[in-house]
Structures are given as structure tokens and as C-alpha cells.
């Protein structure tokens, strides 16, 4: 046993223990019995060490339904700021939107996400960003299972060596393919919504019976 681990764990705040508690429950087997948390983050850049999250958007998907009121959108106060990326997401440092501290945002997100499967486009980027933020605040990494819509989309395409296939598919590619309006592109919740619709359409194509078919 690592000598300090015991002590360190004791310092974790209550909301983390509550979050961990959810993982004692097993996920339902059927795809339609599972709640999926579809998320997207807006960040100041792509560096895990230097850059920070500005916004987390997420919504819940259960049995093909999205309850609009039950969606998640927080803006985060950050000192680090990069004017270049502001051109993409349009979040200015002194934005009029109400913003909260990073710790509060993480806390609210953990309460929202529980043990549900996290879905995102290039989801590992968002997960790593959140994990980096958790680490800064002295917390362990996320424990949720994840699904990436890019790799799921590639699974819907036929495998053929002769027909050229792209290696990367952006969220714009998917939105285009599935005729999803790109109006709110580059707002966290807007992107999460596009991802959610793409996810639903991919599920219809893949027709998995059990949740483990998706997670493989």
C-alpha cells in the first residue's frame, strides 16, 4: 500500500464521496435504460497544462428523450485567457454571462453526471480537460465510462480498403452528414446538442442491443 494514499483520501470533500457512491450501482444492461450525459467544453486552448475550461455544457439522454430543462450549462471564471481562441467560442473574459469558480463548476458537474456514461465528440479531450481541472483542485480523476461519437460514427461506415476513408471526422462533418443545424456551433451546450443528435442517429444505424455492445 502506498503510505500516503490513506491520508490523502480522507481530505476529499463530501461531494466527491457522494459522486463515488453512485458507482456502487451497476449500469443497466439495455441501451434504452441507460442515461447518457452528452457533454462539451469550451477551453482557452488545447494544452492540458496551460489552458483552462471556460464553459461546460451537458444534457441527458434517456430512451431517445432529451428533457430541455434538465440540461447543464456553467461558465467558469478563469485568469488564464487567450484572445485567439475567443474568436472561436466567443466567450470574452469579462463576459456578461454569470460565471462561477472552477471548483463550483466541477462540483455541480459531478452532481449532474453521477455514474452515467459520458458521451462527447473527441470525448477524451473534454475528459482530460476536466481531469486536469480536478487535479488542480486536489481531486481524483473522473470515474465514468465514456463513448466517443467519432469512433462510433466510423463504425457505421463500411470497411473497404479501396474506397478512401477519412481518418478524422469533425463535429462539422457529422452535423453535415446528419443534416443537423450548426447554428449554435461553438457554444458548449450547442455543441453538446449537435453531438447528442448525431449520437442518436449513430445508435439507430448501429442498433446495439446491450450497452456493452457500444462500450466494447
Amino acid at each position: 500500500m502506498w503510505p500516503f494514499s490513506q491520508k490523502k483520501q480522507l481530505e476529499l470533500p463530501d461531494f466527491w464521496w457522494e459522486y463515488e457512491e453512485h458507482f456502487k450501482e451497476k449500469l443497466p444492461e439495455g441501451v434504452h435504460d441507460n442515461t447518457f450525459v452528452v457533454l462539451d467544453t469550451e477551453t482557452t486552448g488545447f494544452s492540458l497544462t496551460r489552458d483552462r475550461m471556460l464553459c461546460i455544457g451537458a444534457l441527458k439522454l434517456l430512451d431517445n428523450n432529451i428533457v430541455v430543462k434538465d440540461s447543464f450549462e456553467v461558465y467558469i471564471q478563469q485568469d488564464h485567457y487567450d484572445s485567439e481562441s475567443a474568436e472561436i467560442h466567443g466567450i470574452l473574459k469579462k463576459s456578461k454571462k454569470e460565471s462561477i469558480s472552477e471548483l463550483d463548476a466541477l462540483k455541480q458537474f459531478l452532481v449532474y453526471a453521477k455514474n452515467h456514461i459520458l458521451v462527447g465528440h473527441h470525448v477524451m479531450f473534454d475528459i482530460n480537460m476536466i481531469n486536469a481541472a480536478l487535479k488542480r483542485n486536489g481531486l481524483p480523476k473522473l470515474k465514468n465510462k465514456t463513448l466517443d461519437t467519432e469512433s462510433l460514427y466510423i463504425r457505421t461506415l463500411l470497411i473497404s480498403t479501396v474506397v478512401q476513408r477519412k481518418d478524422r471526422y469533425t463535429l462539422d462533418d457529422l452535423a453535415n452528414k446528419f443534416s443537423i443545424s450548426r447554428k449554435d456551433r461553438h457554444t458548449a451546450l450547442g455543441d453538446a446538442f449537435i453531438t447528442a443528435i448525431a449520437f442518436l442517429r449513430i445508435i439507430e444505424k448501429l442498433k446495439p442491443e446491450k450497452i456493452k455492445d457500444l462500450l466494447r
Binding site: 440540461s71 450549462e73 463500411l158 479501396v162 474506397v163 449554435d184 451546450l189 450547442g190 439507430e204
Partner: protein, 639 residues
């Protein structure tokens, strides 16, 4: 508190009644309560007699079909922005209709408890609801129903429900307005005005002897030729032309054209010696042709956007259903439907071209491949297409290609909108491997012919059924010549193509049982396309190509041509031609029944007769397979 998604919902709803009469604040509040529901094709939103939900629905994307359960007749299709399932909630009744996703659909479910107070408070919303329930339609403001309210038939209606065909008996008016030979013209005119008819029948001893139309009154009375006090006999057209009442639309049109008249008198046995039973006017025909191919074709050519084309294509599906119900020969049906599919694609290309910022930089040809190329695409299946453009200078090649890729992307997106699914293997003109200059295409096809691996054979089998849909036919002809040149120099290609045709698994097992799929999404279903259709289609292709014939793509026609070219195998080829038609019809029926591509068949849903019919074709499949095995010496290659 609003969020990004609720803003988007409000943004959508505000364009459609009754939400367009809400205040922004109210709508914002309501949008937050919405549940977004994704419905897969053919899933049920609510069924007949189900208790009302907490929500009513607005279609955001896709389409919902409303029907009485147990009948395949669709009563209404709710499109983007249409509201449905509201009346039962307000009336506290169970649902009267079944609502089913006609295609993949996104719905906004709006809770009635939040909507009702707004409806009671806002008079314009109240009026909308009253009007929509009174007219018994989903949306009284929509163009579709304007016709119903004002008694004028509109286009949209014609496409949706009736399925009158040119080979079907026609409806005629049975309320006959008659007079005697001695009736005064003034009395006749009054009577015609009173009953609002354009002609009157003159009878003698209860048998028809003549007819007087508006035209007679104009030409013979208003000109002063006869006074209004003259008798009917003096101005009537006689003898009259009579027909039996079992007249089909096509016959009626012919009859009117032949005699240059606008009214036909129908009698009991079709002669003037029996009682008149009805009058058929040109107008009756006009109403009936609402769903005939010529009218649809004209509508396609007039369409200026993809949305309009989509509505017309619903009409095409109705037409198809009708044709199959009437057992009209499939050769004819597939010709008509392919013609309409082709016209839709052509129109899409024209619209896309008009929307491009610049003229295409070179001459080009749009090829349809696969089932559309063969003229066998009855249902909306995948789109397979390619572009050939004329050779340009080396340095301009990539710029030219990127321009055509852009065009290809636009066209395939619009085709998707009107109902052709994207090709899952991405064999579309928007993919750079399917968008080449003539010289490049010659190289690509030559490569396939000289290096016939399994992939190349698969690609050639899809590509070599190409058909010109739009553009310069000479480019495609030149490519065909090049293909045959190479094939002649390398006859082994046909052996490989033939072995490709033998690759598909057999349809039946040792005991003549159907072999069903063992695993995957379609476990225990019978794969009609892979196990029966493809072998017949593939065999036809290799045989006809070995005769260097490119002009015939349709499988049934290919076999007919083969029967002509090889009289000694005539019987087998004709059996194949028949089988390919029968199978296509089978697939189409199944597809229409389940609103899918008809490829996979649940065997337990088939009746005995259908199973026997299907099995009968298996024998033909085996025979044609052994013919190509021997002819192209496939065994030698496998050794």
C-alpha cells in the same frame, strides 16, 4: 432560466402556428419545458385508442404518418412544423389515429399543462385551435388545407391520398340531368344553371338520343341561329357516342381525343339501346389524373427546391403502391418509377447547378450506378453516383475536380433530403475516388480489369451498371468503349467477374429450407438481396458485358436480349428475366409494407403462396449460376 437549447427550440417554434402568435417571453418559458424526442423509422409515437399523453407534439425534423391502425392507407403526413396529437388532450379522449415515424424524426413534445393556460389566455391561439379542429386537419393555415376550406383542389392533396391510375376504372357523375326532345331551349338553360352542370342529356323513351352542352348553346343559340323557344331536338348533338361504364381512365382519354368531344355518355351495355347510367366529362378525368405519372413528371419539372420534390416523391410512392395493388406488369411499373426517379435526380442537379456561384469549368456527365443505373430502383434506396468530366489541362485538373466535388456534395445532400439515403460505402460523386476526368476514369477501370481482386470486382460490379442521368452522353460512351477494349484484351476479367457472381451464399439449404442470417442485426431474417437478387443481377451483368453490350442495364431486359442472342439458352434466360421481375416486385412489396428497403424478410410473416413463389425462383438462380460457372471456367481459376 433559458439555455442554449431552449433558445433554439423557441427559435424554431416561432415560425409556426400557433406558436407564432405567442409573445417572446411566453415562448421562451414554454420552450424550457419541452422534451426532445428522437424517433427511429417505423416506431410508434402513439397508437389508436391509447390514453392521451402528457404532451402534444411538433415535428422538428423528419415526418410522422397518421393512419388508422390495420390499414396501410396513410391519412396525413406531418412535416416540419406541423402539430399533432393535440385534440385528444384538450377533449380528454383517447387517440383516434396511430402516429408512426415515417422516417427518422425529431419531435418536440410540449407539455399540455404548460400550454393550456397560454391557449386560454391568448385569443389567436384559441382561434387556431378551433379552426384546426373544425376543419379536422393538423394546421388550417397550411397551404395544403387551404384548398379544402375554399373548395379548390390543390396539388399537395392530389399526391397524398388518392391512388387513381390510368388503368383503373374512373369515377363519373351518376346524377343525370335530362330533358325530352321537345323541351324548349330556355327551359334547358334554366335547368342547367339550376343544377350547375355543363351538359344535359336528351332522352326519348328513357333511352339517350342526344346531348346538349354549353358549347351548343353558345354556338347555336347565342349566335342567333336558333331562338330560345326552339326545341331541344334542333340543337342537340346526335347520334351520341356511348361507352360501357367500366371505362378506364386511359380509354376515356382516348375516346375523347378520337371524337374530339368533351363528354362521354355511359350506358348499361355501351350501346345506345340501353339506359344511360352516367356522364363522364373532361373535368372528371382531370381530377382523376391527379396521381398519374404525367402529372407527377410535370410537377417534378416545375419544382424549384428539394422540399417540394420531397412531397412529390411521397406521391410517387403512393403511385407505386397502387400499381402493385393492381398487379400491373412490373416491367411497366419499373419503367415508370425509374423514369420518375431519374427526373427527380435530373431536377436536383439542375437546381444545384443554378445555385452554384460559377458555371461548371468543363463538360461533365452525372452517372447513376447500382440499382438506379439498372432502372430497378423502385423504393428509395441508397444513392450510388459518380461524375466524369472532360479532360482539362494538367495544371487545372485539381481545381476542376474540387469544383465538381463541391457540386457532387451539394447534389448528394439534396438527394438525401428528397429521400435517397447516403451510400454507406461512400460511393458518391462527393467522394474524390468517384469524381474523375475521362482519362482518369479510363485508367481506373483499366486497373480494375487488369487486377481483378475481390475489391476491384465488387467495384466494377457496381460501377459497370452506370447510366447517364445528366450531362454529356459522349463522355460515358467513350468510357464504355475503353472498358470493352480492355476487357477484350484481357478476357480473364470475365472469369473473375463470373466468380464474383458465384460468391453469394446459396438461398436454400439441403432440405430446400430457407437459409436465414445467423447473426447480427438481421438475425433470422432472410436476406433477399444478397441471396437471390444479387446472383441473378450479377450473372446478367457478366453475360451481357461478355457480349460487349453496354446500352442495356435493366436485368430483365438484359436476359431478354440474351435470349435473343443465344437461342439455345432462350428458355433459361427467359426464366431469369421472369424471376428478376418477380423478385423485384417481391422486394418492393415488402419494402412498402414495412417502409424500408425490403431487403430483409421475416419468413414467418410470409404466407404459403409467397413462400412457394419465392422458392420457385431459387431453381432458376442455381441454373444460371451453373451456366456461368461452366462458360467462364470459374473452376479452373479456383484450382
Amino acid at each position: 432560466m433559458k439555455n442554449t437549447i431552449s433558445e433554439r427550440i423557441a427559435d424554431f417554434l416561432k415560425n409556426y402556428p400557433p406558436f407564432n402568435s405567442m409573445e417572446a417571453k411566453q415562448l421562451e418559458h414554454l420552450s424550457l419545458e419541452v422534451v426532445i424526442i428522437h424517433k427511429e423509422t417505423n416506431t410508434i409515437v402513439f397508437s389508436e385508442n391509447e390514453n392521451p399523453h402528457q404532451y402534444f407534439y411538433v415535428v422538428n425534423k423528419g415526418a410522422i404518418a397518421l393512419s388508422k391502425s390495420g390499414s396501410s392507407q396513410i391519412l396525413d403526413i406531418c412535416d416540419e412544423g406541423d402539430v399533432f396529437g393535440l385534440r385528444p388532450l384538450l377533449a380528454h379522449e383517447s387517440y383516434k389515429l396511430e402516429a408512426k415515424a415515417y422516417e427518422e424524426t425529431i419531435l418536440y413534445a410540449i407539455p399540455i399543462k404548460d400550454f393550456k393556460p397560454l391557449a386560454l389566455e391568448n385569443k389567436r391561439i384559441g382561434n387556431f385551435l378551433i379552426e384546426s379542429f373544425a376543419s379536422n386537419t393538423g394546421n388550417p393555415y397550411s397551404i395544403k388545407h387551404r384548398g379544402k376550406l375554399y373548395g379548390v383542389n390543390t396539388e399537395a392533396e392530389q399526391y397524398s391520398t388518392n391512388k387513381i391510375l390510368d388503368l383503373q376504372p374512373i369515377k363519373y357523375s351518376t346524377d343525370l340531368i335530362t330533358c325530352k326532345e321537345g323541351t324548349k331551349i330556355k327551359t334547358i338553360a334554366n335547368k342547367m344553371t339550376q343544377y350547375n352542370v355543363s351538359c344535359i342529356l336528351v332522352e326519348k323513351d328513357n333511352l339517350p338520343v342526344g346531348i346538349i352542352t354549353d358549347k351548343d348553346l353558345r354556338k347555336k343559340v347565342a349566335t342567333g341561329l336558333f331562338p330560345i323557344t326552339a326545341a331541344a331536338k334542333t340543337i342537340m348533338s346526335s347520334p351520341i357516342i356511348t361507352y360501357p361504364k367500366e371505362l378506364t381512365l386511359a380509354q376515356a382519354q382516348m375516346a375523347m381525343m378520337k371524337s374530339n368531344i368533351s363528354h362521354l355518355v355511359l350506358t348499361k351495355d355501351g350501346t345506345t339501346d340501353t339506359k344511360a347510367v352516367g356522364i363522364l366529362s373532361k373535368h372528371d378525368i382531370m381530377v382523376a389524373v391527379g396521381n398519374n405519372p404525367a402529372v407527377l413528371l410535370r410537377a417534378i419539372k416545375r419544382a424549384t427546391d428539394a422540399k417540394r420534390l420531397r412531397a412529390i416523391r411521397h406521391g410517387i410512392m403512393n403511385l407505386l403502391q397502387g400499381y402493385l395493388d393492381q398487379n400491373i406488369p412490373l416491367g411497366l411499373v419499373s419503367k415508370i418509377i425509374s423514369e420518375l426517379n431519374d427526373a427527380s435526380t435530373k431536377q436536383v442537379i439542375q437546381i444545384a447547378l443554378a445555385k452554384m456561384e460559377e458555371e461548371p469549368p468543363a463538360r461533365f456527365t452525372w452517372l447513376s450506378m447500382g440499382s438506379q443505373g439498372r432502372g430497378e430502383q423502385l423504393l428509395n434506396t441508397d444513392q450510388d453516383n459518380a461524375i466524369i468530366f472532360e479532360d482539362v489541362q494538367e495544371e487545372k485538373l485539381e481545381a476542376t475536380r474540387s469544383c465538381f466535388l463541391k457540386l457532387g456534395e451539394r447534389i448528394s445532400k439534396m438527394l438525401n433530403t428528397i429521400g435517397f439515403e447516403y451510400c454507406p460505402a461512400d460511393m458518391m460523386a462527393s467522394n474524390r475516388s468517384w469524381c474523375h476526368s475521362l482519362t482518369e476514369w479510363k485508367k481506373v477501370t483499366a486497373h480494375w480489369i487488369h487486377n481483378p481482386g475481390p475489391e476491384e470486382i465488387l467495384l466494377s460490379s457496381i460501377f459497370f451498371d452506370y447510366n447517364v442521368t445528366y450531362g454529356d452522353k459522349s463522355l460515358a460512351d467513350e468510357l464504355s468503349h475503353s472498358i470493352f477494349d480492355h476487357a477484350r484484351k484481357y478476357p480473364q476479367f470475365f472469369t473473375h467477374l463470373a466468380s464474383g457472381a458465384l460468391q453469394n451464399p446459396s438461398p436454400s439449404g439441403f432440405f430446400r429450407d430457407f437459409l436465414v442470417e445467423q447473426d447480427g442485426e438481421h438475425k433470422d431474417f432472410f436476406d433477399l438481396k444478397l441471396r437471390v437478387l444479387m446472383p441473378i443481377i450479377d450473372a446478367a451483368r457478366v453475360l451481357i458485358l461478355s457480349h460487349s453490350i453496354k446500352s442495356i442495364n435493366n436485368t430483365a431486359e438484359r436476359y431478354e436480349k440474351l435470349a435473343e442472342l443465344e437461342p439455345n439458352n432462350k428458355e433459361l434466360y427467359l426464366a431469369c428475366s421472369y424471376a428478376s421481375k418477380a423478385l423485384l416486385k417481391f422486394r418492393t412489396r415488402q419494402g412498402l409494407l414495412h417502409n424500408d428497403s425490403g431487403r430483409y424478410i421475416a419468413l414467418d410473416k410470409l404466407n404459403k403462396e409467397e413462400k412457394i413463389k419465392l422458392k420457385r425462383t431459387f431453381k432458376t438462380v442455381k441454373e444460371i449460376q451453373s451456366l456461368i460457372e461452366v462458360r467462364f471456367q470459374v473452376k479452373n481459376m479456383l484450382r
